[in-house]
Amino acid sequence: MSALPTVGSLSMLLPFTLLAPLVAMLLIVFLPKEESKTIKIVAAIGMFVSLALSLYAFYTYDRVLGGMQFTLTIPWIPDLGVSLALGVDGLSLPMLLLTNLIGFSSIYASWNMEKRVKEYFILLLILIAGVMGTFIARDLFIFFLFYEIVVIPIYMMVIIWGSTKRVTKEYAGMKLTIYLLIGSAFLLVAMIALYLAAAANGNPTFIFDELAARQELYSPAFQKVAFALMLFGFGSLISMVPFHSWSPDGYAGAPTAVSMIHAGVLKKIGGYGLIRLGVYVLPLGAQFWAPVIAVLAIGNVLYAGLIALAQKDLKYVVGYSSVSHMGYVLLAIAALNPTSMNGAVAMMFAHGVMAALFFAMIGFMYEKTHTRNITELGGLAHQVPRLAIGFMIAGLASLGLPGTVNFIAEFSIFISTINVYPVLTILGIAGIIFTAVYILRMIANVLFGPRRPEWDHLTDIRGPELVPLVLLGFVIFLGGIFPNILMGMIDTGVTSSGLAKILETVSQAKMGGLF
């Protein structure tokens, strides 16, 4: 392996995207802590640059060519095969864009933050950069490094800025962190095992594509064990039943921005990892475990969906709903065919935008009314109509209304899993009824009904507070009305990355089967 950096076209795009929030973070470090306004503006500018660059990447990515683009490879520890390899393809680019959309919005969702502003935004920017890093990493080592970076700010932000309701914020923060760490411990074992197995030909590497290309070095037994470890690690990250219980408590305890980023993108690292590492590198392992994943996935959809019905706290409703929706992602991954992989990535994107919008709106609501209890709220459409519109858009996207990107995702999942797991898919589709019930109940009880004088003093969201609604709402509808913009990109990722080819060998679909 050469010691010189390998440079692709536009290779500095991704480093700049990653560095923009970090530069802003460094600037904030040197700002006096009283300058809270400046701190927020600097953070916003940093994220804006990053968002603009990732949009540019999305726009200029060559869909015909496909594969990893904007690549940059700097050897780091050549003896171990570790290199700082960055790059994006059709699978990771939507996730990168999602991170930036949500990251940018989360800055504005925190616009009214007054408590230890400086520390807050420093940690928030580190968190966003960490998540971004996992998606642009082409190297397993780097991927894991960024993943570990994420844990620290999450823990501190929940403990310091969180809120205590059913459970204390300390409990929530601890639970969230321990789950992340235990998950990552299993991942670490899997990663080392994979690395050692791949290094058997005397040429150690951590690069995803390289690892995937050495299929013949992984025996079926090895794949089964390694995939099981990953399934536990990534599965608990994507809140797969029964490893989901951190998620509702964690979101409820976390401050708005952390809920947005965690539910919106961080837990998607689980799904992304399962595809990028699990299915792509260990297809036989994936094939072995797929039925288990599928059953657990429907557990997610129905079990968490039903529990969401019983919730009184807005964040718990969305928390359980998010667990429920991740079931669709898992079901799609378990179906192991190219269309379902499209659906899985689309669902992660769609759910991310929706959940972030939901949490942003709930955050504002909580800020203004100091309650998240559904029974205490009501008639908010009278006093805060814009907030109500945002809440409603998130709700309608959540129940998969056509016209929103969530419908496209759900539809492509159902259409591609019905062959493979007919009964489970039918149960999954039945889940949309429960979703409709808890979402519509929540909307009715929070937004509609007679005017309540106790909320007359509330001011509607305005100015910077509108950014999450406008940006995320726009993306929800754009993706739903012109689906090719997003789906075309994901499809490129599935078909050109070699994933489709690998799937051919393990595909469980019996095309044209009766049920």
Partner: protein
């Protein structure tokens, strides 16, 4: 001429544009909002009329070869969906009906919604609805249809809950959405099975695939498979078109503004289900079992809802149950193979039911927002235009010649009998009798009889009466489309066209059934020959059951509140105490062992020294045992490595 058909997409696009304009630009200006909305829908109406005329001029050509335009919408591995427009007589008829009723309703709303705080929001929703409904009509494939189908459902939800500060409106909106969602579950599933089987959702391609493959059992599976898909797809129309057992949402939907009830819950959206069955008739036609089922459900809904309508006192609810009953009519018509009869009735019903709803709105405004028919009375003289037009509507729905309902109802009943469904024919005939009875009951109680002096009524403004007059016109002449050589059935039919003359014997029987109903209502409510109270007291149980709508709502509420919510609470308990309990248990064990271990770190040198000493002893013993040198009891020697 065909160039015109290329522009059909403009018909839904204009109202959508109007929605965007109102939502983002003119929402603060009431006048501009309503003007934009009405201009858009009137332009669409103009286009729809032009297209309808072109269709009539094109004649056989367009019947055989619909004008279809498609553009790609979604294209990924294994999933390819187009968006497009289809122009054939069926969609042409629907375009005309929807744009006409929508225009009338929007103009009427100028008067009815006068002074409402949500004016711009109202017109934005109206535009969104019109666009979605027209997009649905023009759909060339099932997914496109489903997308707009859900959007009209959304508009229905928004408009039922338009006065969101009313708890009843809020609950009704929620109920409508949830109930139709149950049906949509089946529709979505059926659609996915269809795509899985045939690899396309395009209507034309599906029809062709079904035709060519139908003989080939190996490819299609069996007729059973088609039947399953037909049943699943039919679940959607059951929800949307208020067929039993998912009919419960429609009467509650009357919580919306009355013009909304006229447009969405009488003339257009609720017939979407009928339209879907018609569009996919090639599928249902292939499965006799499915057709039989549709016929049965439709006929049952027709008589079931009509029987409830007799015992209701709210003017809008009577009309709502009447709508359910008439939708049942259209549905069983499709079930018995009366394709053009069903579509014909869809059209005439849209005219006269919208007319009656708008008339009811005019009455409700006149009596200051009272809806109980017994609070009205003697309005005939005070409101001549409303009265006359309402009378035309009542005659039309009662199937009296020469009003529109006579022709369409007659065609359906005649087909039912001729195609060998005597029971359904009898049910339809009896429903016709009931319909005439309860509609005349409504008419006589509201317009005849003594005037209620406290009402201070007067006729509604022109903006409201002109739409009434226009709709009344169509409620008369709409049925005459059955008369010419190239009649309605010539254009809108399924399979081979056979010209059928009106069967005057059967028509006479239907008219007699209608007259009996009218006469009975006249005897009870005008002449008071029979006292309504005495009937009620003689059959108290029957009256109570009818009054309470057969307790279907109560049953559903019980299931939701006890079964579903109960189950949900049990699962939540399980999640907190079992799933989370295990996690917390593991954490506790970890913490517990950590605490025990921490006792060792006391910080006292003496303790450490003691532990150290014992450790050395233990170590020594271990070594000693290991090497079999128990006799050499000299620790120093061992440590020093004497060996």
């Amino acid at each position: 001429m065909h160039d015109l058909f290329q522009w059909a997409w403009l018909i839904p696009a204009l109202p959508f544009l109007s929605f965007l304009l109102i939502a983002f630009v003119t929402k603060r200006s009431k006048g501009l909002s309503s003007t934009i909305s009405i201009l858009a829908i009137l332009t669409s109406l103009g286009l729809a009329i032009a297209i309808a005329l072109s269709i009539i001029r094109a004649g056989e050509e367009i019947v055989e070869h619909p004008a279809i335009v498609n553009v790609n919408w979604l294209n990924i591995f294994g999933l390819n969906i187009d968006f497009g427009t289809i122009i054939d007589p069926l969609s042409g008829m629907m375009l005309f009906v929807v744009t006409l009723v929508a225009s009338m309703v929007q103009i009427y709303s100028l008067g009815y919604m006068h002074g409402d705080k949500g004016w711009s929001r109202y017109y934005a929703y109206q535009s969104l609805f019109a666009g979605s409904m027209l997009g649905m009509v023009l759909a060339t494939n099932l997914l496109q249809l489903y997308i707009f189908w859900e959007l009209v459902g959304l508009c229905s939800y928004l408009l039922i809950g338009f006065w969101y500060f009313k708890v009843s409106a809020r609950e009704a909106a929620k109920k409508a959405f949830m109930t139709t969602r149950v049906g949509d579950f089946g529709l979505l599933l059926g659609m996915i099975f269809l795509y899985n089987k045939f690899g396309t959702l395009d209507f034309a391609a599906l029809a062709a695939a079904l035709n060519t493959n139908f003989a080939n059992v190996a490819v299609v599976g069996t007729v059973g498979y088609v039947t399953v898909m037909a049943f699943l797809i039919f679940m959607g129309p059951v929800g949307k078109s208020g067929q039993f057992p998912l009919h419960v949402w429609l009467p509650d939907a009357m919580e919306g503004p009355t013009p909304v009830s006229a447009l969405i819950h009488a003339a257009t959206m609720v017939v979407a289900g009928v339209y879907l069955v018609a569009r996919m008739y090639f599928l249902f036609d292939a499965s006799p079992a499915a057709l039989q089922f549709i016929g049965g459900i439709g006929a049952f809904t027709a008589i079931f809802a009509a029987s409830i309508a007799i015992a209701q006192n709210d003017i809008k609810r009577i009309l709502a149950y009447s709508t359910l009953s008439q939708l049942g009519y259209m549905m069983f018509a499709l079930g018995v193979g009366s394709f053009s009869g069903s579509m014909f009735h869809l059209m005439t019903h849209a005219f006269f039911k919208a007319l009656m709803f708008l008339g009811a709105g005019s009455v409700i405004l006149a009596v200051h927002h009272k809806q109980d028919i017994w609070d009205m009375g003697g309005l005939w003289k005070k409101m001549p235009i409303t009265g006359w037009t309402f009378f035309i509507g009542v005659m039309a729905i009662s199937g009296m010649p020469p009003f529109a309902g006579f022709f369409s109802k007659d065609e359906i009943l005649a087909n039912a009998l001729q195609n060998g469904h005597p029971i359904i024919y009898a049910v339809g005939l009896f429903t016709a009798f009931l319909t005439a009875f309860y509609m005349c009951r409504l008419f006589f109680v509201v317009f005849m009889g003594p005037e209620k002096s406290e009402n201070h009524t007067h006729e509604s403004p022109w903006s409201m009466t002109i739409p009434l007059i226009i709709l009344a016109f169509f409620s008369v002449v709409g049925g005459w489309a059955a008369l010419p050589e190239h009649n309605f059935a010539f254009f809108v039919h399924f399979g081979e066209f056979e010209h059928e003359a009106i069967n005057w014997t059967l028509a006479g029987i239907s008219v007699i059934a209608g007259l009996l109903g009218i006469g009975l209502a006249y005897a009870i409510y005008v002449k008071k020959l029979i006292s309504a109270e005495s009937i009620v007291t003689r059959f108290p149980r029957v009256y109570k059951v009818l009054r309470n709508k057969y307790y279907v709502d109560e049953l559903y509420l019980w299931i939701i509140h006890n079964v579903m919510d109960g189950f949900s609470k049990v699962l939540y308990w399980f999640d907190i105490f079992v799933v989370d309990g295990i996690i917390n248990g593991i954490a506790l064990i970890t913490r517990g062992s950590a605490k025990t271990l921490r006792l060792t770190s006391t910080g006292q040198v003496q303790t450490y020294a003691m532990v150290f000493f014992f450790a050395v002893v233990v170590l020594f013993m271990a070594f000693a045992i290991g090497e079999g040198q128990l006799t050499a009891l000299n620790p120093l020697a061992t440590l020093g490595g004497v060996k």
